[in-house]
Amino acid sequence: MKKLIIISGIILITGIITLSFKTEPAKATNYPILPKDSVGSAKAFMSVYRVLMSPRCMNCHPSGDAPLQGDDSHIHTMNVKRGIDGKGIYSERCSNCHQAENIAGLHMPPGNPKWGLPPANMHMVFQGRTPHQLALQLLDPKQNGGRTKAQLIDHMANDDLVGWAWHPGDGRTLPPMTRPAFAAQVRLWIAKGAYAPSAKAK
């Protein structure tokens, strides 16, 4: 009788555990959960912000429908436009000049297999955004490409088009910190609560 009770108990517990996994899958995370720290979180975001506003990132997140070029972020020559998919229009598709890799030499087209702007239905503008605005925008799946916080970290840390910013080819300045340092600041920002800097922060 005692054996029967123990076996029944094991079966019951196993069933409950299995059911709990089926109904509530564990959330995938790639960041630690640290104590909430609005000051530390916002400070980390300010480092992230400086990278995102560097020409290597901002030039393809413009406020208008034309990409930007150069360290002075001037509007792309040739009247290039975003298009529906972010890859240009008609005979001015991005990949008509931009190859899968950078072409060596000054003033040669940089390249990546995914070269392009965000699509027309989600502009993901960086240009002109304050730290406060950009932090909130990045956290909003309706404005960030439908990404969770974990996916946002993964995008910043591992996406190869984002990674191009640190291998931009001849004559282009790098973002103000290394990619691992950048990814660490993104992770810290989110781990400490994903706070937006105050509206007055610049």
């Binding site: 020559t77 040739m78 009247n79 290039v80 436009k81 229009i89 008609y90 005979s91 001015e92 598709r93 990949s95 008509n96 000049c97 190859q99 899968a100 072409i103 030499g105 003033h107 040669m108 087209p109």
Partner: protein
Amino acid sequence: MINITVNGQRHDIDADPNMPLLWVIRDILGLTGTKYGCGVAQCGACTVHLNGEAVRSCVTKINRAAGQSIVTIEGLSLNNNHPLQLAWNEMNVPQCGYCQSGQLMSAAVLLRENSSPTDQDIDDAMAGNICRCGTYQRIRAAIHKAAAMQTGGAKI
């Protein structure tokens, strides 16, 4: 050997995979209608179609074109009777002519995707093709004419 199809003909090219497609087209295949302008994808004189897209062949390496289909100005139509070619001829578009094959190849993509382009559509599609003689107004007018010819039954 890199296999490419140019104007419907297959070619096995024995060349460095990093050789620009423009070099292959002009120097190996002898199709000299496509021009070298700037060499840095800034002028559009070297525009050809790679799987229907108007790529700048001066910066496109031959290995990107491996197994793909390329059309040059020589293959735009069978008898130089593409509506754009007819309109170009009728309106005496070229002056020196050097940029015109690139202009035509870009315009052909525009007309394929937009059968009735506005002036703005034309500017958006053609701003990457520079003409030092300044034939832009005639180019724009000829594209409108070709669009009308196409609507009237001519084939693109």
